[in-house]
Amino acid sequence: MSGILLLLLIPIITAVLCYSSHNRKEAEYFSLIGIAVTAMVSIFLISASQSSPIFFFRGMFFIDALSAYILSIVILVSVAVAIYSVRYMGREFQEGLISIKELKDFYALLHLFIFTMLLAAVSNNIAIFWVAIESTTIVSSLLVGFYKDRESIEAAWKYIILCTVSLVFGLLGVFIIYYASSIVLVGEGTLNWTELREIAHDMNPKTVKLAFLFILVGYGAKAGFAPIHNWLPDAHSQAPTPVSALLSGVLIKCAFLGIIRFAIIGNECLGISYCGNLLMIFGLVSMGVASAFILVQNNFKRLLAYSSIEHIGIIAIGMGIGGFCGVYGSLLHMLNHAIVKPLLFFTTGEIKLKYHTTAIDKIKGAMVTLPIVGTVMLVAALAIAGAPPFNIFLSEFTILKAAVDGGNWVTFSLFIIFATIIFAGLLRNFGSMVFGRPNIDHDEQEKKQIVKNGNKIGIGIIVVMAVIMLVLGLHIPGFLDEMLKSSVKIIAGE
């Protein structure tokens, strides 16, 4: 099916067009049209893949229900980010923080970054998947070091070195799986995930255990699991805000997709307890580390980055508990986090544009200076902390239900303790930013604002995402439920 080829080519063409555009308007239009076309093609592919998986190029690429689900998350966040970038980067351009060349570079890199994530989502071949994840590191490190000051270059350097080293171990895991398959198939092994899954029963369990450990370390660093998360707060806080939203909203989930795929092979070969327990341990450690750092944080972008570590931990815990509820909750949590976290990055981005700082204690009264954005930010902060009736509460509750059903009382109680600490830390910090007496001269700022800013589309996307967040907290639409159920079937079996 050549639709996949089209899906992968459009972002590259868009990137080239953005790079070669002549002025700001042109680059922005190319970027918006490019992402719109990508979204249309992908909606077509996602709906086509619901009945049966689509294969392309000797089975190296495919879209099954699970890839379609991840693909839709990638597309959803990418569209929001592309629209918001017009506002955010436009403002930075107007204020003279970046030059026109840098603006064009930004759009080109943004679309290349989206391309690498799409490639990761649709690859069936585990080595192509590795190449895609490594390319996300390479492209996004340029975006992390985009401002070219000391902090951002240091963050980018740390990011690319740490992730590349851990991905070396990930590739070792891929080689080991290939070796295991070549013993089963006698001679040429296979790298296609669908074929690996069929022969998983016959593989040597010890070899598969070794491979899964390497994969978990390799992709786990990229996903932001706790002992190997050090790059994440730096990269998320130094990148331009739209890029932070992409890194946090979808990149870590793309890496986690690799872990899920290998866990499926591992489950077939070793039974569900081995991979599940490892994921649960990593998840709990991530939550614990994040809860400690969230309490003492004074930079809101770093705060959000640590919150991402917490949520990838929750996703891993749900996947580790397994069963229908655990996997369903975990997948739903991926989507919910991918909506709420970019929303928080966008709203705090507005605050950064207004207050010109990222220090929490220097920001007061955001509700007064920015009424819409401040309100949305408070609601989103409540949602990310896990308060009902928002969508994150729903998926966390589903995961906790799975923990109780499975009798995982240690996991259950640790989860509750960490979630409570994080709830307190998040609300204290966001509360102090939203409420209180504004500490900047509001009227003077307002005047400047009117002159400078005619672009309301960025605020529009914030409101739209807030509405999606509220709706998903109360009701899961039928098509989403169908997608989730068929993805759960792939992961947990019938």
């Binding site: 080595a127 390319s135 070219k148 270059i153 080293v165």
Partner: protein, 226 residues
Amino acid sequence: MEKSFDLSLVNDFISIGILLTAIALNTLERLESCVKAYTYNSWLLSLLILVPAVTTGNPHLYVAASLTLATKGIMIPLFLRKIVSQQKMVHQVQPYIGNLLSLTLSGVLITIVYASLSKGISVTGFSNHALKVSIAVILIGLLIMITRRKAITMVVGLLFMENGLFLTGFSLTSGMPVIIELGILFDVLMCVIILGVFIVQIRHKFYSVDLDASTTIHDQLTTLKG
């Protein structure tokens, strides 16, 4: 029978050569010599792939050997040499630990690898020996990365790890499909180029201010140097 025995011996010699270049990295004082060690390592790696290509006549192995030589043996070393020669400051490696300790640690790592892989792994590719060497090279690369101060030695350590990884791939199986190898090599190449760009930027941002010698900046310099 006689011929294949000889060639496996040749392969053992080459893999020992690969290990020796990695060990030599522990004691090299100048950045240029580090790059040279990497160059020899890559040439030996592609030679190691070439030997079974000649004996089996498998066209895929010829392609793999020439691709390895072109990227790892020629393009990346030339690029690294250019970056090193642009540097106007000291060309010393400046490790955190002494050469002797570094060598000893490498020796310990090699012993651990040989002891733990002495039995239990049957290999479809070249030889059991190459597998042990490859894991040892990965670990030595990692050791170099964490004990050296300069950005460029970190890159060299990373590249040694990647060479070790390729050797693992070839010793476990008889190589990956060509298109996959192409993808991985392209990624490695891009990664090195981007790292090179960052090294140049680090030098701009950190060295130019080094002359003013403020203490906080000094702190940062110990962790990050061009």
